[in-house]
Symmetry: C2
Subunit: 366 residues, 2 copies
DNA sequence: TTGAAAGCGCTAACAT
DNA sequence: ATGTTAGCGCTTTCAA
């Protein structure tokens, strides 16, 4: 591990020039079979692994694609972990705990996007670098990444506009999820509003004329939340429902906020249907409805959005709209790869279909 | 996007030498304030982003750590996704589906390890590169990675021994999860067998003398499965239970295999307690027990292993042992970072505590 | 088919 | 405080 083995070492060992070593690695057919073998042996004997940095520099491409997320953890929340305790005996081998199923509602979304991105990157011969945006004043992480990759996928709104603009002067950038704005980046997104409108129609079809309908909105500054609201309100308007029959309460996408908002809602009397802007809040709403003695779906229809696992496992199972998470990741990398091949193609906007999953919570028993 | 901006461009623009530009970026205090400002302006105006390859080459370190997994997807299973349809109208914006909660039991484990690794890497100023092992004859992905990173975390058994040996000549390698073998790598792992023994004792304490106990084992070649079996059998022996009172059936860690194995088990009569080598199989077992009219935990005690979300959400909630997944990732990166600082320290083995989560499925109502 | 040599963009002595 | 310059390890013409 002292000094790394280089082309020079391999060349010397095989009795050839470094150019030949390079050729054996990159275009083996350009080298006579016997020499090729000699070089390969030297490579194996020395345990040679080419330096990615040197390659990247010479080739002017790194073979790496980047995926940049907004923080899926609060870094400051994570207690320091220090595995190097002085007294090994002080580390228990297990701990016993009574547990009532505390479940971390962490970003399954990002996990799956990541999977899709990795798969597609691999198919195209790239490896994937990931970075997470934390409260990092100058966004040094994403800039670091930009210097090391051939292209970057960033989640919408995870990078300030000016930083993004700067990075995109060096490498192509694809913006994932979130409303395509009229910028010059490639976008990959989903049809939030259309799908929500369709789901709303499905709900409205099941409630009586003049029923009370409620919308449980997300935070004001969420573009996804905004699009979902638009889809809902459009369907409601199209159904000729007056605004007085519609109540809107707002949460912040957490289950707890769904509970609070629903409690507020119930003060004015229970609605016949409750359309939530995401699954977590829908689950929170169901908690509160149940406590209030209301049955879902018999008394109140409830729907969510996202397709998280808890929505499927909950009783009643919650009707929702699933994001094509894996495909979002795959599509983003595809778009990036295409951009690398055609730097001057016009900006692309790819819109992926959502899947509406009809489950118990939205089916009024007839 | 034509030719990238380099130090030379910045230097020219600011009217200084490239060394000064480099200094402004790396040790700003070594440069007079006015020059520093001039350089910074040039950087901003040109949108300069330093090349990671060039840096890596000059510095002899990349600032990147690698995480290599065994394939969490069957690449060949994934249908090709091609987002560039000629007729955009052919792409639906949503699809409607009735759904009964099919849940993908994918590797939550790896997702969380990844999170932990990324967090710790970030704290230490590294970025993370990830790679997935697929049926790739010459393991080119992991070798590619090895050339691009300063250190590598590999999941146990995801890389053949000879390949690993070769990579470790270039960069330090940490092996994650799985039994530490007497090799020269650093290892980070958990106390599978001790925790399983403890859980088994908990179960045995609740069944009558002479009760029938069953173990639902994992695949033969799984080291984790093996260690869990050892913990179980050791506790059973220690309790003075004869081998005739213990039945062992084997599955492959999937829910379906848990069902099949349990069906086979029931042919010989229901056991009083069923200890499964993972959660999925425990859930499958509960499916079958319920269908057979047996109640959990009243008639049969059941336990799992892993701490997946479905185990917490299922009714009855399943007693299990949770892997400290995030901490595994964090610890692996810590060990790697330490190795980078002390290349000659003796190989470390870090063993993280497991958490036994007692839930309904293993508590005989008294 | 092979070798010599010129970069690739940066860092870090060493000079000034 | 700043500039000059020699690498870092590879790829890729261009010659032989």
């Amino acid at each position: 591990m002292s000094r790394s083995v280089t082309v020079y070492d391999v060349a010397a060992r095989a009795g050839v020039s470094i150019a030949t070593v390079s050729r054996v690695l990159r275009s083996p057919d350009a080298v006579r079979a016997t020499t090729r073998e000699r070089v390969r042996e030297a490579v194996a004997e020395l345990g040679y692994v080419p330096s990615g940095s040197a390659r990247g520099l010479a080739e002017r491409r790194t073979g790496v694609l980047g995926l940049y997320f907004p923080g899926f953890d609060a870094a400051e929340e994570a207690p320091d972990l220090d595995v190097f305790v002085d007294d090994p005996a002080s580390v228990p081998t297990f701990t016993l705990a009574h547990d009532d199923g505390e479940v971390h509602p962490t970003s399954l979304f990002l996990d799956e996007v990541l999977r899709g991105a990795e798969l597609e990157a691999w198919k195209r011969g790239f490896v994937l670098m990931i970075g997470v945006g934390r409260d990092d004043p100058d966004r040094s992480t994403v800039r670091d990444m930009a210097g090391r990759v051939d292209g970057l996928v960033v989640l919408a709104r995870s990078v300030p506009d000016d930083v993004l603009a700067r990075l995109s002067r060096r490498i192509p950038v694809v913006v994932l999820s979130g409303p395509p704005r009229g910028d010059d980046y490639d976008h990959v997104t989903v049809s939030n509003s259309e799908a929500m409108a369709e789901l709303t129609r499905h709900v409205l079809a099941q409630v009586p004329e003049g029923a009370r309908v409620a919308f449980l909105a997300g935070p004001e500054d969420s573009p996804d939340g905004g699009q979902r609201w638009e889809g809902f309100s459009q369907a409601v308007r199209a159904a000729g429902i007056g605004t007085d029959a519609v109540t809107v309460v707002r949460g912040d996408f957490t289950r707890e906020s769904g509970r609070r908002a629903t409690e507020g809602l119930l003060v004015g009397g229970a609605p016949d249907a409750l359309v939530a802007a995401n699954d977590q809040m829908a689950l929170g709403a169901i908690d509160v409805l149940r406590d209030a003695g209301l049955r879902v779906p018999e008394d109140v229809l409830v729907t969510g959005f996202d397709g998280i696992e808890a929505a499927a496992l909950s009783r009643p199972a919650v009707t929702t709209i699933r994001q094509p998470m894996i495909d979002l990741g795959r599509a983003a990398v595809q778009v990036l790869a295409r951009r690398l091949e055609h730097p001057d193609a016009p900006p692309a906007v790819v819109r992926l279909p959502l899947q509406i999953l009809l489950r118990e919570s939205s089916q009024r028993p007839s």
